[in-house]
Amino acid sequence: MNNVPLIMFLAFVALTLLITFWAAKKNTGASAYFAAGRSITGWQNGLAVAGDYMSAASFLGISGMICFYGYDGFMYSVGFLVAYITVLLVVAEPLRNAGKYTMADLLAYRLKPRPVRALASLSTLTVSTFYMIAQMVGAGVIIQRLIGLDFAPAVIGVGMLMLVYVVFGGMLATTWVQIIKALLLIAGALLLSYLVLKFHHFSFTEFFNAVSKADYAGSAPPKNLMEPGLKFGVAVAGPWGPLDLISLGLGLVLGTAGLPHILVRFYTVPDAKTARSSVVWAMAIIGLFYIMTTFFGFGAATILKKALITTAAGKPDTNMVAPILAQVLGGEFFFAFISAVAFATILAVVAGLTMSASASFAHDFYSNVIHHGKETNPDSEVLVARITAFVVGGVSIFLAIQLQTVNVAFLVGLAFAVAASANLPVIVLSIFWKRFSTTGAVAGLAIGLLASIVLILISPSLMGIDPPEVVGAKRHLIQMNAIFPLTNPGILSIPIGFLVAILGSLLRPEPEAEAKFEELQVRAQTGLGAETASSH
């Protein structure tokens, strides 16, 4: 049983290594390494963006959450999709028109580049690292379960493979890896959904009836999975549950527009109009995908025997729900396919994250902060990015191994909250507010980062008093009553981010920045002077 998934995975790896080799040959120059030569078309980028988004957390995590907690798991899916309207209406086109390789290019347009780029780079690295550790931990756990490798070697193996893609293939390779993975994931999801509906004789009435009686939480008075409240309701999560849910929603809907590894994909297309169509393609694919996760999540609850998806200790094994469903409905071959797709998913997302983090360091910090933008040699920028990728990869592998018991969804949620609190306010204010100044940007980025991280540190995720029988990894990190009652900081940290950015600008206005606003407006809103595709 362990060999078929391994073989499929190796086949995918071989295919993607071939692509990396092809991309390496085409990788002449910075524009090729960082932005795939701006040669990616609308539907291709739509698939790549969707691919980046449909990570292990989405595919495995959400279907698992829906299986065990019903409707409340679906709330994540909704937030993840609606977030793209923020991207489409507010951020995607101005960003593409006014920048070159990274999110900080937009910010540095009329503000003092060095402090802004330094902080933007820090923020990018922070968000990417949290997101990356989540994926690596997920990878380790899954590979451990499906192939039998130990956690540490599994994580190291994934990390090394990812580094090959990033270091040799750059943005071109990582984009095409995402596209292929996205196609495989959609195919797998369609087949799985079809099989679930077939099991229920293609009747939605029968399906929903079965779901309402499935009760996977296995509670003494049986609960209806169709009903909200099994995870965030007052009965389960205490009086702060509903507010926590709103805070989560806010973080999700505003966070995507501040995620550096998603934003950077808008630089790989020839122009803003293509950036726009790629978001629309992504929304169609992601929307369809998330609707399907409800089919497999609910489907698993109605089809799988409880014993299959709980661990030896009787706890829900939420990450394995989708592959096991595939196994029960479609046999070993389908199980292998879905598992291979899960690995591919993690690999591709991790590569994308490393790509954007290392690009940010090289382009924002190295070239512009350390070398004052005088480093006009683009080849050394590329070299620094490659070296950074090694370092970032190495650090993530190390941290993932240390944090192997930390909840993956929690880390991803953290990344979204930080992105929404630190990055989004400064991006939005930069594009739309004439009086936005460097002080505002620096304060907004720094305090947004700090506020979200501190609020998480003092939240029930990390703080709590455990009775003595709770041991080891299950103990809260800080044995104190939680100071902040919500697990999601968004409802407080996002307004703080905006407020600080605005206050900073009002307190220290910057006439030079205001003077350049006209130029930024014309560029952002018409596309005049935007970076164009280079010819190959």
Binding site: I85, S212, M226, E227, S277, Y290
Partner: protein, 102 residues
């Protein structure tokens, strides 16, 4: 960041056609953003604070909560469609602003 001949940005920005374009964009984007944020946030608010309303069944076992959540997907897609349609018109205006200048 690289332009071949110096562009008079202030002059472009001052053109009535450009200002009109900006006004049209705001007239869509601001209300649209307010709408979609309110529609979306209504979901966790109602689910959290009006659970009995949300649990009411609408069709078989399908309840208000599920229908409302599903409607968010359609809201998002419709919003995207409307945006693309209006943005195509903006593209034409933007091109006119640029070419009028050259």
């Amino acid at each position: 960041m690289s332009e071949k001949s110096p562009v008079n940005w202030e002059a472009l920005e001052a053109k009535p056609e450009f200002r009109a374009l900006l006004a049209r964009k705001s007239h869509f984007i601001i209300p649209a953003t307010i709408f979609f944020l309110i529609y979306y946030l209504a979901l966790p608010i109602l689910v959290g604070y009006c659970p009995e309303l949300m649990k009411k069944k609408v069709w078989g076992e399908v309840n208000v909560a599920y229908v409302f959540a599903l409607s968010q997907f359609f809201m998002a897609w419709i919003m995207a469609f409307l945006y693309v349609r209006v943005a195509a018109k903006w593209d034409k205006s933007a091109a006119a602003v640029i070419h009028g200048h050259e």
